[in-house]
Symmetry: C2
Subunit: 274 residues, 2 copies
Amino acid sequence: METVSENRAFGGVQGVYRHASETTHCAMTFAVYLPPAAQQGRVPCLWYLSGLTCTHENAMLKSGAQQWAARHGMAVVFPDTSPRGDGVADDEAYDLGQGAGFYVDATQAPWAPHFRMFSYVSCELQALVAARFPIDVERQGITGHSMGGHGALTLAMRFPDLYRSVSAFAPIAHPTASDWGRKQLTAYLGKDETAWRGHDATLMVKEGLWKRDILVDQGASDQFLDLLWPESLSGAIAESRTAGVFRMQPGYDHSYWFVSSFMEDHVRWHAERL
Amino acid sequence: METVSENRAFGGVQGVYRHASETTHCAMTFAVYLPPAAQQGRVPCLWYLSGLTCTHENAMLKSGAQQWAARHGMAVVFPDTSPRGDGVADDEAYDLGQGAGFYVDATQAPWAPHFRMFSYVSCELQALVAARFPIDVERQGITGHSMGGHGALTLAMRFPDLYRSVSAFAPIAHPTASDWGRKQLTAYLGKDETAWRGHDATLMVKEGLWKRDILVDQGASDQFLDLLWPESLSGAIAESRTAGVFRMQPGYDHSYWFVSSFMEDHVRWHAERL
């Protein structure tokens, strides 16, 4: 693991690191924020998964998570959103290929050799972070924005013992029904839709797979409402009697201004549960 | 004035605007954050001047000022750092020409026709913002980072009735003695150093030109300490018996992580004085 940069921030350290991944078979870059409390011992850890076109950097620079993480004594990990590099398959569209891993393990050509973000985040990077940084592996939560909100919800429901708390900002809430989903799940997982079911938050919530509570924020003026399908997730939460808070936020769009405006609430949500 | 973008943020609006400047004779872009309180009436206004290589965007995205401005009911204006465009003089160096206006009115060729950021910020953009946004012109303060900290301190001392409060992050504190200053002041104002004196915070503080108090934060691990000369400004504050708080912050460098880590304190400083 190589240290790309480390900066003092809010009394802690914002670092960027690079390593050769055995899961995605390419170099992967990620960021970790360690709060001041990490100088005294192990701290809880929040995973932040980013959206389409993002790298580790967007949320690191724009979400404002560090200041709240510092106050609550929590680490934050910002993974990249896909494998990258000249030898990695890609597509001209912004929503497929590099920058658009969708947090699945691809089984189809040409994606299968590298596009394994599901295992990368939940397994390889998980182990690397736990080994190299002073986090308490028993106290980890997960959140994310847009495609990353989809990733956070679906990973939490697949690994509820690993991720003890979950929230999401404007998640892609029902990818098996959306143009943000059907195209990518077909490309990465193939046409058999039974393989998709483990990657759709609405379907998984309906099955009652999350036994604790969920926080979801959604901008009511989001320009991508037709692709996100928030109504299907809010309906599934109610229908399955899952505990949770689903907030439609008037006037907010899909940008990081929306994310940063409510980041304080999300970090507190996780801190209170970890 | 053209609206480039507007996003809901922390209950208010983060806008980016463009206009044809009569001072710099080119199109100028700037950003304004209006807090929720601006929907009810005029609010105090903080000017944030940015450093070398920056546009209006760096601090807008990375300083985290908006959340504190929202809480304190204060507008924030983020001007650009120089004139820009194909017809505007430039230099290959990052610290001269476009992106490096140094908040002076150039008198020398080839800079004089466009490089008039002193008048642009304090006069033309001041009037435009006051006319188009609900700010209270009697309650304005100014801050900035690096070259923008130099700009904030020197503009405040030149216009103490306009800027009622002042602070700075890692300012270029003594440009007449520094390689961040002598080169630029020579280029923009000529070799006669008497023309430079009104653009050096250390010299102006020594003359007792600021009658209220000053807040300055400086990272103790700043990679540019030899160019910033913080010791000359802290010495001038003490020598002139100027009220103020000068904080050396251990471990912090020159990046926006440093700025954002202490932005809350600076916004509160201005809010308490406006």
